[in-house]
């Protein structure tokens, strides 16, 4: 187990002759604490797989260095980095038993058979595979096979980190839920650094202690799930975390107070000086509510999502989403809305304007 450090890592795939390089990964300096549970979260094409491949050594970055516990590993091949990986689709040997599949990474490294048995038994127990050890892997369902893949990632004790690349893609939702909890439990038990790549915010937030949000080749924010939800540093984080995402609305400033829909919003965190640039407020749908006085809106759509309702309203040309309680009535006549002043954020050119609550 070790701490992993990125120092000014940047990567460009070789550009066509005579053209300037385009960076698939913008500069990243980041310390991955020993034993931490991290998620790399972002849409496809954001650079998260590039980053993962740089950690595992499948890719050597064009700039910067990678250190494991302070030792430079930038040029080391994957095999020498002691990294375990679990991929999107199960990688199992169909003709082998579950036991032999789990034992494979250990036997490969010449571990004594008695120790192999001990370790495989332990991991099988953690994954509820104990009663299937003698079964052939070919007879298992997709989630059973993916459990074996997870097990093979977890079975080695000498790894620096375990990398998961969208490991739950092929799993049914109700089993996803179980496997996710299982993975979190395993992390608590074995304490190895885990890095989990996904485009699914729920998976990222439920698994990780720290989430690294990526967008357009760069890291836009590293934070705990709560920080990402309450204090997104970039409008993209506000949009990407949370479902529905944060409302981002154009605003002006008057004496440090944001103004939208001709109304002073009474933010609890006014700014001292007008920062200039493109100004927008960010307000989560959870913090928008109907009120007797406020911004007049027209209701466009009400969606019943079971445990809550998502209401889409419009003020002039701006669409606003709000989350309303399961049993709450939607006002029929001239509805007005208000934004919770404590949870109102201000953005300048898409980046959060630092106020004292930042």
């Amino acid at each position: 187990m070790s701490q992993i450090e990125f120092r000014h890592v940047r990567h460009a795939y070789p550009p066509p002759k005579g053209q300037a390089p385009v960076y698939a990964l913008e500069e990243v300096s980041q310390v991955w604490d020993d034993g931490g549970a991290y998620a790399l979260l972002g849409p496809s094409g954001c650079g998260k797989t590039t980053l993962l491949n740089i950690i595992s050594g499948l890719l050597t970055p064009s700039e910067g260095s990678i250190l494991f516990d302070g030792n430079e590993v930038t040029q080391l091949p994957t095999a020498e980095r002691r990294i375990a990986q679990v991929f999107q689709f199960p990688v199992v040997y169909d003709t082998m038993t579950v036991f032999d599949n789990l034992a494979f990474p250990l036997r490969n490294r010449g571990m004594a058979e008695s120790r192999v048995t001990e370790r495989v038994t332990q991991i099988a127990e953690m994954l509820d595979l104990s009663d299937r050890l003698t079964q052939r892997a070919s007879g298992l369902t997709a989630d059973g096979k993916q459990k074996i893949s997870l097990g093979r990632g977890l079975v080695r004790e000498d790894v620096n980190a375990i990398l998961f690349d969208e490991p739950l893609t092929v799993i049914d939702p109700h089993l996803k839920w179980q496997l996710r909890s299982k993975l979190k439990e395993l992390h608590q038990q074995i304490g190895v650094t885990m890095i989990y790549v996904t485009h699914d915010q729920v998976e990222a937030l439920t698994f990780a202690d720290k989430v690294v949000v990526m967008y357009d080749g760069g890291v836009v924010q590293v934070g705990t799930p709560i920080e990402l939800f309450n204090r997104p540093r970039h409008t993209f984080v506000g949009y990407f975390i949370g479902s529905p995402g944060m409302n981002v609305l154009p605003c002006t400033l008057d004496q440090g107070q944001p103004v939208f829909g001709k109304q002073h919003l009474g933010s609890s965190h006014p700014v001292d000086t007008d920062p200039g640039g493109k100004l927008e407020i960010g307000i989560r749908p959870e913090f928008v509510s109907f009120s007797d006085d406020g911004i007049p809106v027209a209701i466009e759509k009400v969606e019943d999502l079971g445990r809550y309702q998502v209401v889409t309203v419009r003020h002039e040309s701006e669409q606003i989403k709000m989350v309303v309680g399961e049993d709450q009535a939607i006002p029929a006549e001239s509805p007005k809305i208000r934004f919770e002043p404590d949870n109102l954020l201000l953005f300048r050119d898409d980046w959060a304007v630092e106020t004292e609550h930042a």
Binding site: H174, W177, R307
Partner: protein, 354 residues
């Protein structure tokens, strides 16, 4: 297009994929098939499309028996989870291909291709080949090609399963709108309860090759006829427990009890099962208090999800806000007993409505 299955079943060798099923889809509406892998969603769709001949029963389209009529003769479009494109065609030509086959004039083809490319956010990639697209973009291309035909019956088999989360969210919003004016009957298979709720329309819950219940999506969610139906339509899984009913009270244990609705009070004493959705089990508030041991807690954005062992039952609480727990901690949770669903010995729900 009105589609009706009459006593349709499908057996393959010794295995029954679909048990005898009666189902009339809502014409011109969104019809969702909700169930896990192997629950029969794909088999039902293949039967509706005419790609599979039923072992017994009839398929009626607009009241006419079309059992055994091949798919090519009918106005059907089907989109699979794993999408397929023509590798040597540009995105534009991929989307245009069904319209060219149909012999539409060039300007109409162009307008339609652009309309659907725009809808699926493919406009900047119209001249690329599928190989030069990301996985998500390839899937959107295939989706556009299936939609552009304007078929009367559109079968979508988990079409968003492989897409990015946020794109999925946007398309869930867009898809019902796209079809709203087309008059097409849409059948949409999903394994995600929340997706069914987001799409709205009508839902059939499926389990082990049977249609458990069919009706308006929110009714199927709130008023399942059986425990099976409630289970299919709950994620995280619905909390269940055996209770002892005596007189007008329900006992979860000697120390945890509450008054039951009149309909249940009038029924014989004995064992019943309750179902309680995770978002109705909360870390604070009023109602019935239960103590349990926290097994795991997760925070997903604005929600906290906690797994707790309560009176020997593995329950889940899903609450708004951030609540942190230590593994193994004893903690108290609450539920409003009016949120309980009650099931009899045959796991049929006892109606407790007003």
């Amino acid at each position: 297009m009105a589609i009706e299955l009459r006593q349709v079943s499908l057996r393959v060798g010794a295995e029954t994929h679909i048990h005898e099923t009666d189902l009339s889809l809502q014409p011109g509406k969104f019809n969702i098939l909700l169930g896990t892998t192997l629950s029969g969603k794909t088999s039902l769709m293949r039967l509706m499309a005419g790609l599979e001949k039923p072992t017994s029963g009839q398929l009626l389209v607009n009241g006419e028996d079309v059992t055994g009529i091949p798919v090519q003769k009918r106005s059907v479009a089907m989109v699979y989870q794993a999408f397929i494109n023509y590798p040597s065609f540009s995105v534009y030509d991929n989307i245009a291909s069904p319209l060219k086959v149909a012999g539409l004039p060039k300007d109409q083809i162009d307008a339609k291709v652009r309309q659907f490319a725009d809808l699926l956010q493919l406009t900047p990639m119209l001249h690329r080949l599928p190989d030069e697209l990301s996985g998500g973009q390839q899937q959107r291309t295939a989706l556009a090609r299936a939609l552009v035909k304007g078929a009367e019956l559109v079968l979508l088999d988990e079409p968003l399963a492989n897409l990015d989360y946020k794109l999925r969210e946007e398309l869930r919003d867009e898809l019902p709108k796209m079809f709203a004016d087309s008059g097409a009957t849409v059948v949409y298979a999903t394994s995600e309860p929340l997706e069914a709720l987001m799409l709205g329309g009508y839902t059939a819950t499926l389990n082990e090759g049977r249609v458990v219940q069919f009706g308006e999506t929110s009714t199927i969610y709130r008023q399942p006829h059986s425990l099976e139906g409630a289970r299919v339509f709950s994620d995280p899984p619905i909390n269940t427990a055996a209770i002892e009913k005596r007189g007008d009270s329900a006992y979860l244990s000697d120390s945890v009890s509450w008054k039951v609705p009149a309909q249940l009070a009038a029924m014989p004493d004995g064992r019943y099962t309750i179902g309680l959705r995770p978002h109705h089990l909360l870390p604070g508030g009023d109602g019935v208090a239960v103590d349990g041991e926290v097994q795991i807690s997760e925070i997903s954005g604005s929600e906290s999800i906690v797994r707790i062992n309560i009176e020997g039952n593995n329950w889940v609480s899903e609450a708004h806000g951030i609540h942190s727990y230590k593994f193994g901690a004893r903690s108290r949770f609450f539920f409003d007993s009016s949120r309980c669903l009650y099931f009899d010995a045959n796991q049929q729900r006892i109606s407790t409505g007003p």
